[in-house]
Symmetry: C2
Subunit: 585 residues, 2 copies
Amino acid sequence: MHAIDFIQDLAVIMLVAGMVTILCHRFKQPVVLGYIIAGLIIGPHTPPFGLVHDEQTIKTLAELGVIFLMFCLGLEFSLRKLFQVGATAFLAAFLEITLMIWAGFEIGRLFDWNTMDSLFLGAILAMSSTTIIIKVLTDLKMKNEHFAQLIFGVLIIEDILGIGIIALFSGIAVSGTVETDQVFATVGKLSLFMIVALVIGILLVPRLLAYVAKFESNEMLLVTVLGLCFGFCLLVVKLEYSMILGAFLIGAIMAESRQLLQIERLMEPVRDMFSAIFFVAIGLTIDPRVLVDYAVPILVITAVVVLGKLVSCGTGAFIAGNDGRTSMRVGMGLSQIGEFSFIIAALGMSLGVTSDFLYPVVVGVSAITTLLTPYLIRSADPLAVRLSTSMPPRVVSVFGMYGEWLRSIKPRGDKAMLAKMIRRILLQVGVNLALVIAIFFGLAYFATPLSKWLANWVDRQALHHAIIWGAALLLSLPCLIAAYRKLKALAMLLAEMGVKAETAGRHTARVRRVISELIPLLSLGGILLLVAALSSSILPTMELLVVVGLVAALVIAVLWRWFIRVHSRIQIALMETLEQDKGGH
Amino acid sequence: MHAIDFIQDLAVIMLVAGMVTILCHRFKQPVVLGYIIAGLIIGPHTPPFGLVHDEQTIKTLAELGVIFLMFCLGLEFSLRKLFQVGATAFLAAFLEITLMIWAGFEIGRLFDWNTMDSLFLGAILAMSSTTIIIKVLTDLKMKNEHFAQLIFGVLIIEDILGIGIIALFSGIAVSGTVETDQVFATVGKLSLFMIVALVIGILLVPRLLAYVAKFESNEMLLVTVLGLCFGFCLLVVKLEYSMILGAFLIGAIMAESRQLLQIERLMEPVRDMFSAIFFVAIGLTIDPRVLVDYAVPILVITAVVVLGKLVSCGTGAFIAGNDGRTSMRVGMGLSQIGEFSFIIAALGMSLGVTSDFLYPVVVGVSAITTLLTPYLIRSADPLAVRLSTSMPPRVVSVFGMYGEWLRSIKPRGDKAMLAKMIRRILLQVGVNLALVIAIFFGLAYFATPLSKWLANWVDRQALHHAIIWGAALLLSLPCLIAAYRKLKALAMLLAEMGVKAETAGRHTARVRRVISELIPLLSLGGILLLVAALSSSILPTMELLVVVGLVAALVIAVLWRWFIRVHSRIQIALMETLEQDKGGH
């Protein structure tokens, strides 16, 4: 039978991995490290000898491992958690990622590595390791403390920014250049895609899963979940994004389903099996001599990771208003790199843009920082105490005043409510806007085949564009109307607050009315201009545009209430899904 | 990325499988059928077109599916259940398999198929489908009735005989001939291997799993289980048996572990994922035109399956003392073929000895018999009533008398106890004997390398054999001594029963003593002769044999008690594992 080689590979991988992870567990090291060491042992670079035969199939399975890892990361991610994450996490994660990408890039340059290696090193250093942090905090019994919650918040933002970085870097790696406008275009398109995928996904997928779950068959649910996961990955790949992004997104979508717990329970063994293969495959590619040859870079990078993350995350936490002790703990807790870094390194390898030595270096840094993490967390408190006593009292009092000032400007009561309302309205307008842009983009993308199809009925080319553009406008009308209404509500709020009766006198009501009518109309006009610019490839001629505009106005006049009803129904469905109980999560 | 094709295949397989199984579920058909239809749809023989690109990788994963299917079948199997299965199951399964292999072979000959096709058809028809039976009985709410328990007993025996058939057929397929002595040798070696593997496996594996489970990590337990599973499969393949046998055996060994429930929970999703691929892969290979071309054989075979299984299993159940209604239900319940048949058909394909049409034919027969099963079970009672009323009263009374006679000869009270004791002793002697033979076989197998290694110290070739044979004798001494003691106990029992004081008069005690000493010594002599014959390749010369025998006698005299202690410790460990609680099983 031809599958013998393959079974032998799997047997060797699992047996050695099992033994080494048991040893790792005894010495309180994370399982991931055990897998990589197992890979090293059975790899071709170390004695006894190369024990793996069918390397191609193992690599394919390792890619499945990445997909399942990211899918389960997505499952643990949740939009609700994202909305609840406070300013601390945003600030710390943003500072961390900016600083670490810059630091990684500079280190790479310092060692005379090429641009791509340096760039990927930056991205690799930016991501901390969720699994290692959870393991260490569980071991130290600190999982429920305040700083741990802050760390988990940072990790969520890291995930989402990391996904963005992966998409961005894939683009850069393919085109080979880094240009600012290109970066902005990529980020814009990516955000657009993510918002649209999340909205449509959360509307459809949880409903489908709930239907399948009614049959009470684990097998059918698993097959459906796998089908959706692979299918969505495929769609994402066809749109020229990374499979990793697809796996994470569909995971995040399924995280909003009522069957979340059941799906996690079913996917856990599948993920464990394939991620073991992924991590062992990492070990397989490593030549231990590289670790020796690159000992200096590894040590330098390790120092930069620990210090850089400590400073960036600690500062971020402190600026956001936490005390010194908590900030220090947050910084220390995030001072390592792990599985996400491996995934980015693997991406660089499979795109063929990074050098062979990068992988072993990353593994070396990850191993050392992982070993350090528990000691770093435990040293946070003494260090914070020593820092505060050794600082001149002037500096300490300045820091203290900063904290107090921050608390004093924090919106409270009515103002906090108002701020929350405004945020909410802006979010809704943003999502509707994204949907509108996506509709125009989508129809522009399919303009050529649509135009061909329309040629069966309509002869004139110019008319085709008018019809397609008009259809896009029609489809996006519910969102446009909703955006208009949200903007109007916002404008009324702002008018109420901004135009005080003391200054405007007897014109108060009129000024307020003008503002509350003007702002939404102006914004809508801006939106339509933006849409027109973005869909310039299918924009009809001026005369036809006027016709389309008139038709749209007519449709709006007639179907205004219907559009509002449709939109609010969809919005309610979305909100229900987001807010439903996910069985203890 | 090179894995795109593969991900696309998985996406298509899982999505189509998901949709079709949902449809199947709606129409109350088993999921397996859905998978096969899904495979048909995406296969190259049907419109729209071939949707699978990387067929080689899919086939490799399908083989993993077979391994996991058989592994989980092994997990559900249990030696305790095997010992509890009554005469009914043995008789019915034995009759069924003999009749069906013969019937299948004859049908094949009838349609002018070649010998291998006919032989595999026989084996394929012999196996009923556990999953379909469980599904139908659950739907009919009959799972806890008496006849259902009988059916489950038959299925257990079928599993074990099926495993034997697979091993036998693999051998026949490789050698290409069917010779009686070869068959006996194969069956003998196979039984030997299974007994040794089970004894050693049950001594080691559950202890290892209990150790790993102490770390309370699902991931580590899963990796260990997978490692053991693949590792054992590999070992079995190296011994030139089928991987399927290995997967089943290691499953049966793990079924004796305390972690059984946890392992089942972890392996279920893995099995479901890969078995879905396996069944879809079956569908992929099927050309629907073959189903049309072979409509006649399919219908004939279907009729033979239903009638043959009904008659053989029903008769078996009746002969073993069940009433007509129960026997009819047992026969009807087993009247289908399913996943085990597919595995045998896949084996034939992968060995390259069966024709291409066999697979579609088997799938067709399985589909029809699966559809029929619930109706057949429901029709059992009316049919039994009609049969008993339409039979001449004479025949009915003969059948009734047979049942009464059977109940009257059934051992009861003391006699039943005695029969149980004798069975138990014979089983223990058999297991010990198997171990002894295995030790000699094992050392004979490694004689050449061992001899080379010994050449470093000892020059004479003849001495090498003496040393190896002596070592084998030494290693098997605990088992030999245990066998001797069990035989002595048995002989005493028999002497007590057989030599009545009325006939032997005043010699009673002496005759009894002679018998109870003679039988074990004679048996042991026979055993040693058998061993000597089997290990003839390493049997030393006569003079050296005498020396070895003298050394052995000395060792026995000195270490008699120690040997007994060692053996009883091992036996107790084995019994504890077999009898421990497996968490609700």
